[in-house]
Symmetry: C2
Subunit: 336 residues, 2 copies
């Protein structure tokens, strides 16, 4: 555990490639720096933000320093990730990954092209011990404790081997949050051992064996989509395709219901308004908005490209908290 890192986290922030104008995100970083006194911010953006950056630097009073790395290029949402990262080594995403690799920053936050973030992480960073594919980890509220779900879309492989690795990373994540023996569930279409695809059934067997061998997590078996929010497990393991569908379906259903209620309520008293606002906050601005890319040697936070500047700032705050809690060091020691 490297003490100096924890004293003053260096957070690299990619301002490019999301649905928000880079200047909007830049302003959020300045807002954060006015309120936070123990962080080194490093923003990464193209030269188009240079003048606004100088302007904000003059106008604002910051408790934490903000340094800028200006780059020549950006990768947009529409670009083919693999082609883009090969051609645009000078893009904000690739430069951010290089800074992370060189330990110039302790975490890298981006709301850009997901595929490009994952591909460049794989290109520039080493994998963690015993991990062959990274997974995106998202945190969702439940009736009890928040649950870690992975993979929510880093890849579409659904091999038992990868599901096992996701399970270990999810358990490691929950350990860093103080849960001594995380409960792991496998997202499936029924609770019976024989449900689901061949690979899921294999993962079931392997997780059952491994839980007995390792004794540092509990395998709770199959979990159906309708039980997830009961909070019976700490980690929900699934392949990236299903996990992505799961996450977006939960989001879509929540929006549908909240919309329905707000539209149909004729009398809106203060009580119902505050309950709905609290709920929206719990659902949308969770501790780690977006997702953590687990499995690479370096802390990468992917924020939703469509999230608001405020959500983006929450993503940056999440990154700061993870660095302060020695997340990467603890995860590595859990995996090795």
């Amino acid at each position: 555990v490297k003490a100096p890192l924890n004293n003053k986290p260096k957070i690299g922030i990619d301002l490019m490639g999301s649905e928000n104008a880079p200047n909007l995100l830049l302003k959020e970083v300045f807002n954060l720096a006015e309120k936070t006194d123990d962080v080194d911010f490093v923003i990464i953006g193209t030269e188009e933000i240079e003048s606004f950056f100088s302007e904000l630097k003059e106008k604002t009073h910051r408790k934490s320093p903000i340094n800028a790395v200006f780059v020549k290029n950006l990768i947009s949402m529409e670009e083919n990730p693999l082609v883009a990262i090969r051609r645009k080594k000078d893009s904000s995403v690739c430069v951010g990954m290089k800074l992370l690799k060189q330990k110039e920053i302790d975490a890298f936050v981006s709301a850009g092209n997901t595929g490009a973030i994952i591909a460049s992480a794989k290109m520039f960073l080493n994998m963690l011990p015993s991990i062959s594919r990274p997974g995106l980890l998202a945190v969702l509220p439940t009736k009890k404790n928040p649950i870690a779900i992975l993979d929510v879309g880093a890849n579409i492989s659904h091999k038992a081997e990868n599901l096992m690795q996701f399970a270990f990373m999810g358990a490691g994540f929950q350990k860093t949050r103080g849960i001594k023996k995380p409960k792991i569930g496998l997202l499936n279409i029924g609770s019976e051992e024989k449900k689901g695809t061949l690979e899921i059934r294999k993962a079931y067997q392997d997780l059952q064996k491994m839980a007995l061998l390792k004794d540092n997590f509990i395998f709770s078996g199959n979990i159906e989509g309708k039980e997830v929010f009961e909070g019976l497990v700490d980690v929900l393991v699934t392949d990236g395709f299903t996990g992505n569908v799961f996450l977006k379906t939960a989001e879509g259903t929540a929006n549908f219901i909240l919309d329905y209620i707000t539209t149909n309520l004729t009398e809106k008293n203060i009580n119902i308004k505050s309950v709905l606002t609290d709920l929206e906050n719990r659902l949308h601005h969770s501790e780690y908005p977006g997702a953590i890319l687990c499995g690479v040697e370096g802390l990468v936070i992917k924020c939703h490209s469509y999230s608001s500047p405020n959500d983006f700032a929450n993503g940056v705050k999440g990154a700061i908290a993870l660095v302060k809690n020695n997340f990467m060091e603890l995860l590595q020691s859990y995996l090795s």
Copy 2:
């Protein structure tokens, strides 16, 4: 189109194998028969319900007749479907399928073991023209029109060929509901053509070509879980594993949110109560609670095994409406 069928639908109802006691479901059928005057009900159950059946027959006044078929056996939720249907040809599920095959009934409703229902449907009924695997079709509310989703769990194959067949059956279903040119979407993890698994990408290409050729549906491309409830498409096509996760996740999220609101509301005025009740009705007691098994020559309705007796009655009502609307005949003519 066979006119006599539509005059007086004969609805076969399996009372066994769900989480509800058979007598509770039987009582619901009698309630329905007291209110409905143009149906022939045929209940199927083991001899254990015989005395309660006689008792109800004496006590109640019915507008529609209820006949009973008493069977020797039932298949429970826990049984292996394939083993069970081979060994228990005299079970309520198998007997119901045989009655459907012999056209003794026009529809068969069951809340029993899903696997056994599907396996016995495949064993006793012919497949519809050009369909190789049946799919379970569920109907969900959206901000606009209800959407048909299939497959929600009849099988875990995810071949492009099967996805295409689900698309045609979903379009056929919506045609029978008066939508002339149904819009079909493919459940995926992004809107871009190249997203998802190999088979989904293939289905994308095939649906695009077929929409141009056939001109009786519109292919709207990929749809993400968060957009489904916007109601932009009439049919959502997906494999049985993902579809099942989708459906149960939507259900789990809805329960989580409604629970949260009811628990946290301190002042409960009449307005919010009625909005929440309306919403719950829309979500849980949709027109067709449970799902339609599409692809076999015969109308099979699978109700949730955990649904309330009232939901089960809604499933029976759904079956009556489908028979009256010539659903099977229209679907067959759409597919051929």
